[in-house]
Amino acid sequence: VAFSFPSAPDERFEEFMRKAEALEGERLAKAIPRECFEPRVSRGLLGFAVSWAVYLGAVAGLLLAPHWLLWIPLWIVAGLGGWGLHVIAHDCGHGSFSRSQRFNDAIGHVALLPLMYPFHAWRHVHYMHHSHANNIELDTDWRPLPPDAFRRLPLWRKAVYGATRTWAFWGGTINYWLSSAFRPSFYPSARMRREVRLSIAFVLLVGVPYLVALTWLTGVGGLLVLFVGPVGGDARVVQHDDAHAPQRRGRAVPDVRALDAQREPAPRDDRLPVPPVARLPDARHRGPHAPPRRAGDPVLQPAPRAGRAQGGYPGMLREQDLRPGELWKIVRSLHLYDTESGFYSDFSGKPVPQDAKAEAPAEKVESHA
């Protein structure tokens, strides 16, 4: 039987959709000053070098650490380096690192090596996410399940879902890697699959000898401490929502013909090469109040501060760095999809209440570290 969600949307949902529909046909990038789209290659390369130095320095520290108690802080430092590299790869994927697509691809491939993530696989799955953000069927990054679907999951998948929405939120990226990194069949078009295979070949060509050499020289223990540990440190929150952004069913056949339009330059990330320790890139990279996008619009990304300066989309565009309180709210209650309201419910099925703060105009709640 065909179904339609949400079944009983309230005024908040309707208001959101009214605002979103009012933006139909708008090019969101208009709210962002033109200069934000100009790549700054030297700054990007500096960020790339700093992040690699942080990562490799921490791995060297792990190798020389006199006591295992030092491993945990060093894993976190290595993870932060990997995190910075991921931000670089993200810019490369969206064409905002440089004007040269080849150069972006080359840097992107090298930047994702600490994660052993084939760059084109990440790039395409990330485009899919942007094309279907907040679509409960097709968003590749974050897709809360309705309670009935959650209950019907096999025990193992239920445990993974439960863990990655709560205490193991940091492990979501591992799940993401497992489902998309080495699976060309995950991608709908032949060209995507071809590019993904090329990236896989690159990762295998560089990564396998590295891991074999590492294991040969330091043993399985060394592999765990020097490679797996830093990957764990790099795990990040893959969460683009808050309690106030409704999820919805999209069209059964979403218009994704313009997927590759996301190669268009996106606003560059101006906070690089800020030491990555203060940053939770993915958590802020797409405002939860950003409206459903029209396919083909350039991706709306980190320059909304500038966008605000031009009066861009009040109430619909919000940038907020992740804070401990927000993170706590996410893991405590944003678990399942409430099929009635279109917002979240927790694991007990209780709808997540909206607070007054999020109803305030976006400008008043935005904050930056």
Binding site: V1, A2, F3, M128, S131, H132, E137, L138, L178, A181, F182, R183, P184, S185, F186, P188, S189, A190, R193, R197, I200, R249, G250, R251, A252, V253, P254, D255, V256, R257, L259
Partner: protein
């Protein structure tokens, strides 16, 4: 992890996709799934009547993704429950050339 690493050699539509070719692909695909001759497929009969369960419905949607080279809702076969309905819906959404009448 390496599932699907090999090339997908599944059936594809030769030439430009039209409503007619899509409909023919669905008939062949369904016939293969339920092990009957393509000419025995009734395009007005629901997928459920052919015994397709939810798992298979999602698989068919996944196979269609490869044919149409775009992401599709896994619930597509629930929203459009016969071959006629599904092919005309997809043709409308994707602006394919209509089937000859």
């Amino acid at each position: 992890v390496f599932k699907g690493l090999r090339r997908n050699r599944g059936p594809q539509i030769e030439g430009p996709v039209t409503e007619e070719s899509l409909r023919a692909w669905l008939i062949d695909h369904l016939a293969e799934r339920v092990r009957i001759a393509p000419e025995e497929v009734d395009t007005t009969k629901t997928f459920e009547e052919y015994g397709l369960d939810s798992r298979v419905a999602v698989q068919v949607s996944g196979a269609l993704e490869k044919v149409l080279e775009r992401r599709l809702s896994p619930a597509l076969l629930y929203d459009h429950q016969t071959i006629d309905d599904l092919s005309s819906h997809l043709a409308r959404e994707l602006e394919l050339a209509p089937a000859a009448t």
